[in-house]
C-alpha cells in the first residue's frame, strides 16, 4: 500500500515537472528532472502481463469512432484508427513500446470488472470513471470528457427540445453501464423508466422498431450513429446539464496495478504536448452546430 502511494506521489511529481517543463522553452531540462521517474517507467523495469509487451484489452466488437474507423478497419483495433485506437499507439510510443509490441485482447464488459487476475495491462472501452467503480478497479486519469446527446428522428415530437422538461413524456433508451443511462434516470427523469440495452446497436434497433422515442449517448457516438448507423436520425441536441460528476473516460486497470502511474505520466505528456487534443480533433469532432438542451 505504502509502495503504491509513493509511486503515485512520484507520478504526481513527474506530472508537475512535466507541466512546468511544457511551460518553459527548454526541453532538455524536462529530461533531467524526470530521469529518475522515467527509469522506473522504462519498458524493461515495468511489470507487464506479458513481459516486453503492452497488452491492451478492449471490447468485442469495437465501434467507431473509438476504434477501427474506415470500411476495411471495422473491428480492427490494430489499425490504430479511431480516437482510442490511435491513443493506444500514442501511449505505447510515449511509454517506449514499439507498435508491434502492442497486442490487443478482447473482453466483455463483465469479465473486465470481475474479481481475479487479468491477462491484460489495461482495458480501454469508454469506461466512465466513478467513485463506486474505483473501489473495485483502478482508473487512469481521464483521457476524454464527453457530453450527453439526444438522438431521435426528425418527425419525432422530441426532435426539438429546448429543455429537459420537454422530454418528460419521452420513452428513452440507453446502453447498460453507460453514464448516459445514469443521466436519463438522474437528470432527465422521464415519466417512463428508460429501456436498457446491452449495446448501443440494440438501442438503435429499438429506435428503428419504434419502441423508443430517442436514445441518449455520448456525443461522439451520437455523431457516428446519425452519420452511419441509423438512417435519417438526427442529433436533437446536447445536454447542458452534467450528471453528478462530469462524464470522463479512463483506462481501466486491475485494482492495485502499479502501472497506472506510468500510464498517467505518458497520458499527461500527451495532453501537455497537444497530442490528445489533436486526436480528439481528428476522430471525435464534426462540423456543424448542435443545439443545446437546457437544464
Amino acid at each position: 500500500m505504502k509502495e503504491i502511494r509513493r509511486t503515485k506521489f512520484l507520478a504526481l511529481l513527474a506530472v508537475l515537472s512535466l507541466a512546468l517543463a511544457a511551460c518553459g522553452d527548454d526541453g532538455s531540462e524536462a529530461t533531467t528532472t524526470t530521469s529518475d521517474e522515467a527509469d522506473s517507467c522504462a519498458v524493461e523495469s515495468l511489470n507487464m502481463v506479458n513481459p516486453g509487451q503492452l497488452t491492451v484489452a478492449t471490447g468485442e466488437p469495437v465501434f467507431p469512432p473509438w476504434m477501427g474507423v474506415g470500411d476495411d478497419n471495422f473491428d480492427v483495433p490494430e489499425s490504430g484508427t479511431g480516437f482510442e485506437g490511435a491513443l493506444v499507439y500514442e501511449l505505447a510510443a510515449e511509454m517506449g513500446f514499439s507498435d508491434d509490441q502492442v497486442t490487443f485482447v478482447r473482453t466483455g464488459f463483465d469479465e473486465s470488472i470481475a474479481p481475479g487476475p487479468k491477462d491484460w495491462d489495461f482495458n480501454i472501452q469508454q469506461y466512465s470513471i466513478t467513485a463506486e467503480r474505483d473501489q473495485v478497479v483502478d482508473f487512469s486519469d481521464p483521457y476524454y470528457e464527453t457530453q450527453q446527446a439526444l438522438v431521435t428522428f426528425p418527425d419525432s415530437p422530441y426532435a426539438e427540445p429546448s429543455s429537459i422538461e420537454d422530454l418528460e413524456g419521452a420513452v428513452l433508451g440507453a446502453a447498460i453501464g453507460t453514464t448516459s443511462l445514469d443521466f436519463v434516470e438522474d437528470v432527465i427523469q422521464p415519466d417512463t423508466a428508460p429501456s436498457v440495452y446491452d449495446e448501443n446497436v440494440d438501442v438503435e434497433a429499438a429506435m428503428n422498431a419504434g419502441q423508443i422515442d430517442g436514445l441518449v449517448v455520448d456525443l461522439p457516438t451520437a455523431y457516428f450513429i446519425t452519420a452511419v448507423q441509423v438512417e435519417g436520425s438526427i442529433i436533437a441536441g446536447v445536454f447542458e446539464a452534467q450528471a453528478e460528476s462530469p462524464d470522463e473516460f479512463g483506462l481501466l486497470f486491475e485494482e492495485g496495478n502499479p502501472l497506472v502511474s506510468c500510464v498517467n505520466q505518458a497520458l499527461a505528456t500527451l495532453r501537455d504536448d497537444g497530442t490528445l487534443a489533436a486526436l480528439e480533433e481528428e476522430w471525435l469532432t464534426q462540423e456543424g452546430d448542435i443545439p443545446e438542451i437546457g437544464g
Binding site: A114, P115, R133, V136, G177, L181, A205, N208
Partner: protein, 289 residues
C-alpha cells in the same frame, strides 16, 4: 418378501427417508449417517472455498450485505415482471402446444398438410436459439411498422417465448399421446366417436396425466428463460441486476436475483417430485402386476 424392496422406491428426497415401520431402526441409523456425511461434505467444500486467498475479495464483490440491500428493491420490482410474463406465457404455451400435438396426432391422408405444417413449425422453431428468436421478433417485426401490429418489446418477447416453448411442449404432449395404448383409441372409435372426439375424450386425458412431470419440468425451465427478454430492453430482474452491476461493478445484485429465481423454482421442482411419486404409488397400489 412382502412390500416393495427399498431400491425400487423413487429417488425423491423426502420419501427415501420415510421408511416402513419395520425398517425404522435401520432408517434412524441411515438418517444419522446421511446427516454426518452431509455435514462433512458441505464442510469440506466450504473450507476449500474459504481457504482461497481471494475469498475476502469475492465476498465483498458477490456477497455484500449493503449492496444486497441497495439492489434488492429494483431487482424485486423487476422480478414481479418476470412472474407476470411467466404466468401469461405458461398458459398460452400449454394451450398452443396441446393444439399442435393434437393436430400432429391426427391420422389419415386428408390431414397431411396440417401435420406437415405443424412438423415444419416445430422443426423450425426448435432449430433456432431462443435468444435469436426473441431478438428477431422483438426488433424485427416492429421495424416492419405494419399497421395494427403491436411494437411493444414486452409483447414480442413473451410471444417469442410462447412460440419456442410451444414447439418443445408439443413434443412432450406427443410423447404422452403415443404412450397411450393403441387399443384405447380403437375402443373410442368403436364406440362411434370421431377421430377428433376419441383424441379429445379418450387419448388426451390419459396422455396429459402421463406427462405432467415433464410439463412441470418445462415450467421450471420457462421460469428462468423469461429473463431472456431483457435483450429487448425490458427491465426484468436480471436486467435490473445487470444495471446495478454495471453501475457499481459489484456482483451482489446477481446473487439477489438468483435468490428470487430459486425461491420461485424450488417449490415447483419439489412439487413435481412429490406428484410423480404419488402417481407412481397409486398406480402400483391399484394395478399390481
Amino acid at each position: 418378501m412382502t412390500g416393495p424392496p427399498d431400491d425400487i422406491r423413487g429417488p425423491s428426497l423426502w420419501t427415501s427417508i420415510r421408511r416402513p415401520r419395520r425398517h425404522r431402526e435401520e432408517g434412524a441409523r441411515a438418517a444419522v449417517i446421511a446427516a454426518i456425511s452431509t455435514v462433512a461434505v458441505l464442510g469440506l467444500i466450504l473450507w476449500w472455498v474459504l481457504s482461497s486467498e481471494a475469498w475476502p475479495e469475492v465476498q465483498r464483490q458477490f456477497f455484500n450485505p449493503s449492496h444486497f440491500m441497495a439492489a434488492w428493491p429494483a431487482v424485486l420490482g423487476g422480478f414481479w415482471l418476470n412472474i407476470q410474463m411467466f404466468a401469461v406465457a405458461e398458459v398460452l404455451i400449454l394451450i398452443a402446444a396441446l393444439i399442435l400435438a393434437m393436430i400432429r396426432a391426427l391420422r389419415g391422408p386428408a390431414f397431411f398438410p396440417l401435420r406437415a405444417l405443424v412438423i415444419g413449425f416445430i422443426d423450425l422453431v426448435r432449430g433456432i436459439p431462443i435468444i435469436l428468436l426473441i431478438l428477431l421478433l422483438g426488433f424485427g417485426v416492429p421495424a416492419l411498422q405494419l399497421p395494427g401490429v403491436p411494437n411493444s418489446p414486452l409483447f414480442w418477447g413473451v410471444a417469442a417465448l410462447v412460440i419456442s416453448y410451444s414447439a418443445y411442449t408439443a413434443e412432450v404432449y406427443r410423447a404422452g399421446i403415443e404412450s397411450v395404448h393403441e387399443s384405447q383409441r380403437m375402443a373410442g372409435r368403436s364406440l362411434g366417436l370421431t377421430q377428433v372426439q376419441s383424441l379429445r375424450y379418450v387419448t388426451v386425458p390419459q396422455a396429459i396425466r402421463n406427462v405432467i412431470p415433464a410439463l412441470l419440468n418445462g415450467f421450471v425451465s420457462l421460469q428462468k428463460d423469461v429473463a431472456l427478454v431483457f435483450v429487448l430492453g425490458v427491465r426484468e430482474a436480471v436486467r435490473e441486476a445487470q444495471i446495478y452491476n454495471a453501475r457499481t461493478f459489484n456482483y451482489t445484485a446477481y446473487v439477489a436475483a438468483a435468490v428470487l429465481f430459486l425461491v420461485a423454482s424450488v417449490p415447483v421442482a419439489r412439487f413435481a417430485d412429490w406428484y410423480t411419486e404419488r402417481v407412481r404409488r397409486r398406480r402400483q397400489g391399484v394395478g399390481g402386476v
